[in-house]
Amino acid sequence: MKTNFLMLHTITRIVSFIVLSFSVYLFFAGHNAPGGGFIGGLMMAGALILLYVTFDAERINRVLPFDYTAIIAIGLLLAIVTGLNSYLFGDPFLTQYFEYYQIPFVGEVELTTALPFDLGILLVVVAVALLTIISIAEDVS
């Protein structure tokens, strides 16, 4: 039986887009203001799970053909390697560096090594949350 969730589909198309962009905002807001890799990642996972719930898993898998296990590994490695780069400068593990740059049109921007570290965390969180829910969901059907 194929049910037509017109309302759900329409709203999800709009809402998931908003949630996804807000998660990206949270990710970049992190570090000096509330936000960061974990929160952003959870929100991004929430948006993706909304997509999985609304549309069937096959279609989403076609749009997002990622191996989430590999994403976990890549995220972990990204975080560790960011921590390790302080070895190059002779500082202890996880020492962070930051610098302010002038970028045209954007203005002054702070670039920190905490950013790739947070990106690693974001990847891990998104992948773990999705993997957990997808593996349970696929088992039922």
Binding site: I74, I80, L84, F93, T95
Partner: protein, 494 residues
């Protein structure tokens, strides 16, 4: 700036993360994990050597100074434990190559093996109470997965209980942490020790101490908190059981040692009496349960418990000799217990059963296995000149010196029972007329199974024959942990 302290934590962590990517290439996984383990072993030898040479090494993560940031501290005791975990890690890995199934290899056996070692080494090296909690969790979650893979009915059932018990312990750890943070305003172990020295060990501090004791007691299988251990260590295959039996409980014991030699040392008449009673009961009940069993693996799991009692006994007597004896016992026990579990795995592979009554006569068909087992069995029972004798000798001697005759009597009687149950295994499994036909076992090659065990046997003999230099080193370790000011000065600076 001593990044060498970090290596035993970072190497397995990176290896685990990389190995996730190669889950479909078992051969590549085997080779790379073997190489990584050997590198890790070399790193921990280097760590012990440099700590021995230069004194306590510390790393302040993220360059935050000590009481504010997280520190990793490598003192003699911690680095010795890291060395032991690396040795066990290497041998269990090589044993796993022989015994682990293809299915497990595909389902992330190697990555979680390395994450487990990350957690274990991290718990040994960390100098921060909350960081200890985090590394405990890393270790526990990996152990959950290693225990449950395979997913038989028995495994699922017992791991559920194991998981719930351990999460409960973790939450209790957090509660104790809240108390300690409320009292002292810090989470750095050295700083806590300093603060508690100032405010005195009052009732509230003792409450936190006992809460921590319960937490570590659950991880370390102390009386009366050991009930989860036998069933959950019975499920997984021998290589994992050996790693768990040899190493995981020792992490709990290590944490008890660390907190009760560094922080809670101002009210010994209360805390260490509690420890003494728990030690005696743990020894007696563990060994009695072991004597009653007729299952190879079960006997060994109950012996883990009774041996934990000896270690805590050394801590409870709290003289330099006793603590040295206890550390010697930890080292001895990690080595021998893992070896015994591998023997259980090897005999199970040969005979296809764990029940003692269904085996007999392996001495005729597999003499090498039998005699190697004999060595480790008498070593754990405490027969000279093997390592088990010297650790128990030091413990008993220190008990007599401190005039604690009851615990000495208990320790000696438990030793007799240990010998009894080891001989029971030997008689049932190895004596008698062979129960197996040549065709039953000829397809199983014994040599690759025994190769990983041999280093353990060599170690137990060496720790017995060269007891004097080994004991001098361990005496040094004990002196270091019994003087908290050394640790505090090393972490916080003068």
């Amino acid at each position: 700036m001593n990044n060498i302290v970090l290596l035993p934590v970072l190497i397995p962590f990176i290896a685990g993360a990389v190995l996730i990517l190669f889950r479909h290439f078992p051969k590549l996984q085997r080779i790379s994990s073997a190489v990584v383990m050997l590198v890790m072993l070399a790193a921990s030898v280097l760590l012990v050597y440099s700590v021995y040479q230069d004194g306590i090494l510390t790393v302040e993560l993220g360059n935050w100074p000590a009481p504010f940031g997280i520190v990793l501290v490598g003192d003699l005791f911690a680095s010795l434990m890291v060395l032991l975990s690396s040795i066990t890690g290497v041998t269990c890995l090589f044993f796993a190559f022989q015994t682990i199934t293809k299915e497990r290899e595909k389902y992330f056996f190697y990555p979680f093996y390395f994450f487990l070692l990350t957690g274990v080494n991290g718990s040994f090296l960390t100098g921060d109470l909350f960081n200890l909690f985090v590394f405990f969790e890393v270790m526990l979650i990996s152990s959950f997965i290693l225990i449950v893979t395979g997913g038989t009915k028995f495994q699922l059932r017992e791991s559920y209980k194991y998981v719930v018990i351990n999460i409960f312990a973790s939450m209790m750890f957090l509660a104790a942490l809240a108390y300690i943070y409320g009292l002292t305003g810090t989470l750095n172990l050295a700083h806590i020790a300093q603060q508690i020295e100032e405010i005195g060990q009052t009732g509230v501090v003792n409450t936190a101490a006992i809460m921590l004791l319960i937490v570590f007691g659950i991880k370390g299988a102390l009386f009366p908190l050991y009930f989860w251990l036998p069933q959950s260590y019975y499920g997984p295959p021998a290589a994992i059981a050996a790693l768990f039996g040899g190493l995981l409980t020792k992490v709990g014991v290590y944490a008890i040692f660390r907190t009760f030699t560094l922080i809670f040392v101002h009210d010994i008449s209360f805390t260490h009496t509690v420890l003494l009673v728990l030690a005696a009961l743990t020894m007696v009940l563990g060994v009695l349960a072991a004597v009653a069993q007729f299952n190879f693996k079960m006997i060994l799991t109950y012996h883990i418990i009774s041996q934990i009692g000896y270690m805590i006994m050394g801590l409870a007597i709290f003289t330099p000799l006793a603590v040295a004896g206890a550390i010697y016992h930890i080292a001895h026990n990690v080595v021998v217990k893992s070896a015994l579990f591998m023997f259980a795995g090897a005999t199970q592979k040969i005979t296809g059963t764990n029940n003692l009554k269904e085996m007999s006569g392996l001495l005729k068909t597999h003499p090498a296995l039998a005699w190697l087992f004999f060595i480790s069995a008498v070593s754990i029972a405490g027969i000279p000149p093997l390592s088990g004798f010297f650790s128990k000798f030091a413990l008993v001697l220190s008990g007599l010196e401190a005039e604690m005759y009851v615990i000495v009597a208990v320790a000696l009687i438990v030793g007799v029972f240990t010998l009894f149950s080891m001989m029971k295994i030997f008689i049932y499994v190895f004596w008698g007329s062979p129960s197996l036909q040549r065709s039953d076992y000829s397809h199983i090659k014994l040599a690759p199974l025994l190769m990983p065990i041999v280093p353990f046997i060599v170690l137990t003999i060496a720790m017995g024959l060269f007891a004097e230099p080994v004991f001098t080193f361990i005496q040094l370790t004990a002196d270091q942990i019994l003087d908290p000011s050394i640790y505090i000065d090393a972490v916080l600076g003068e």
